[in-house]
């Protein structure tokens, strides 16, 4: 029998959209008395089922509001599904962007300890990782500076370093990533960050990756799910899904970047092959 890390069975989730975003006790009482509760229910997820085998990576694609993040939060246990079941086998880390826990008025050192403990590490464990985090961020000279004085790029670096090393330390079997790769740091750091992310993804954990970057989905994931309006449009091999997705949206420009990059890559491949051919031909000619 195959070993499954995550099994999602018939998961559905409804949200109520209120007209008054900020419900107050006063407005509640009034609407209760007058019997006018403006509520619209809508399905965020409808009967979602899939299985993820250990060591496999799954990508989730789709337009905004398609239910991608909701699905990930349900798997992470942050939301409770209305019906259906999610079983998770192994320890899991949920990562929704970087930059959740930083407190601007604390120093970098204090922030490392705060975010680390929010990520679930004990003081001792953070002690053991502290040097690595500082080293990776490349911000050693600012260690006792308050974070609000950091530039946006420095923030990103700090955030990324803390989060990444906490994940490395926890060594999860399952990694849920919601739009977290990349960021606003400079190119050198971005490269470093991407390498580190890649290391994490390829490090043996099963990954579910929600991303708008089709390149990433294609690169890192074996399988993919295409969600739209809370339902699965297609699921299966990631390359096939991405191709189908691109075909569907080829007119509206949202996948233009991807298509161009892919073309470029293919051109390059052809270019490389042409160069090889030319070289061989040249060699043959000179040999003759």
């Amino acid at each position: 029998m195959e070993n499954f890390r995550i099994i999602v069975e018939n998961v559905s989730k409804k949200f109520t959209r209120d007209y008054s975003r900020h419900e107050t006790s006063l407005s509640r009482t009034l609407s209760f008395i007058f019997g006018s509760t403006h509520k619209v229910e809508f399905d965020a997820l409808k009967n979602i089922s899939f299985k993820l085998a250990s060591g496999k990576n799954l990508g989730i694609i789709g337009k905004n509001g398609g239910g991608k993040s909701t699905l990930l939060r349900i798997i992470a246990g942050i939301y409770k599904p209305d019906s259906g079941e999610v079983s998770v086998n192994g320890n899991m880390v949920y990562l929704a962007g970087f930059g959740q826990g930083l407190k601007p008025k604390l120093t970098m050192r204090e922030n490392i300890y705060l975010v680390g403990s929010i990520m679930g590490l004990s003081q001792k464990e953070i002690d053991s990782r502290f040097e690595e985090i500082v080293e990776f961020s490349g911000l050693r000279e600012y260690i006792d500076t308050k974070v609000y004085q950091f530039s946006a790029g420095m923030m990103t670096r700090l955030n990324f370093s803390i989060t990444t090393f906490c994940i490395v330390h926890k060594n999860p079997d399952i990694l849920l990533i919601d739009e977290a790769i990349g960021g606003g740091a400079d190119i050198t750091f971005q490269k470093k960050a991407l390498d580190k992310m890649e290391e994490l993804i390829k490090g043996g954990a099963s990954v579910i990756l929600v991303s708008h970057s089709l390149d990433q989905i294609e690169k890192y994931c074996n399988e993919a799910i295409w969600l739209e309006n809370g339902g699965i449009v297609m699921q299966g091999d990631s390359k096939k899904i991405v191709d189908a997705y691109v075909k569907t949206y080829s007119d509206d420009g949202s996948v233009k970047g991807y298509v161009e990059r892919k073309k470029k890559r293919e051109m390059m491949k052809i270019g490389v092959e042409n160069a090889k051919m030319e070289k061989i031909i040249a060699e043959k000619i000179s040999g003759n």
Partner: protein, 257 residues
């Protein structure tokens, strides 16, 4: 099973402590000015009421200044901690929504932080007691009472933070309630058996905490057994109700904030 839940509780407490420490630092920003502002409210009330004490018939209350100070400080602690607990969940939406974090520690951290602050309040009481030449012996027993006081406030915090995620203007309602409770509780006056105020206060948990604290600290007598029993009952029941309500509703928090 027990070992696991023990381990769980330990990690919740560890996280609570870290958050509390960070928040405490944030509030005081390196200096201890934050504590000064925190102490200013009861101190100002203290001076104002001492000035106008002619209006209140305080002559029947022995050691009135310390009596008043203990009342004000315990009530201020209660008011400040419960008021901030309302936003424990809704004010931390970035944690609640995007991290798998034990929500209990968000509530507990606030309590731990308030205990840090309360230490300074107790120091203030000690300073005044030395100034008024009172014996400090009774204060030794205060931690026992404080334990139940914190349990009571913790339960209330669980309850309020739960309601606060569903109803947005709870803090307005609560501040009015606190205003009401401030005058209803014998803080700057005394409630003697037989008064209608006394009868009403039999349903007021703060009355028990204050009376027992004063009995121990100022009058150095053992509090009456029935009062102690009701006080313990209040704190245990409040804690249980608050905790159960919190646990029952916590799966909905992430959707509401």
């Amino acid at each position: 099973m027990i070992k696991k839940s023990l381990h769980n509780a330990k990690s919740v407490l560890g996280l609570s402590y870290s958050i509390a420490r960070a928040d405490f630092k944030l509030r005081n920003e390196g200096s201890y000015l934050g504590i000064f502002w925190y102490l200013l409210t009861p101190l100002a009330m203290f001076l104002i009421i001492l000035f106008v004490r002619g209006v209140i018939n305080s002559s029947s209350i022995p050691d009135y200044p310390v009596y008043l100070l203990i009342g004000l400080i315990m009530f201020n602690y209660f008011r400040a901690t419960t008021s901030t607990s309302i936003t424990d969940i809704s004010g931390n939406s970035n944690y609640v929504k995007s991290m798998k974090i034990s929500y209990e520690s968000l509530v507990c951290s606030r309590i731990i932080q308030s205990v840090f602050s309360h230490i300074f309040e107790v120091v203030l009481i000690i300073v005044f007691m030395i100034f008024f030449r009172e014996s400090l012996f009774g204060l030794l027993f205060y931690p026992f009472l404080f334990l139940f006081f914190v349990l009571f406030i913790l339960g209330l915090s669980f309850l309020l933070s739960t309601i606060g995620t569903f109803i947005n203007d709870l803090s307005n309602v609560w501040s009015v309630l606190m205003q009401f409770l401030f005058f209803a509780t014998p803080i700057f006056y005394a409630a003697n058996p037989g008064d209608s105020v006394y009868l009403a206060n039999l349903f007021n948990p703060m009355f028990y905490f204050l009376s027992i604290a004063r009995d121990m600290i100022i009058y150095r007598t053992l509090p009456e057994t029935w009062m102690t029993a009701i006080m313990i009952l209040f704190s245990l029941v409040t804690f249980l109700i608050g905790f159960i309500v919190f646990e029952k509703n916590k799966s909905k928090f992430a959707e509401r904030v």
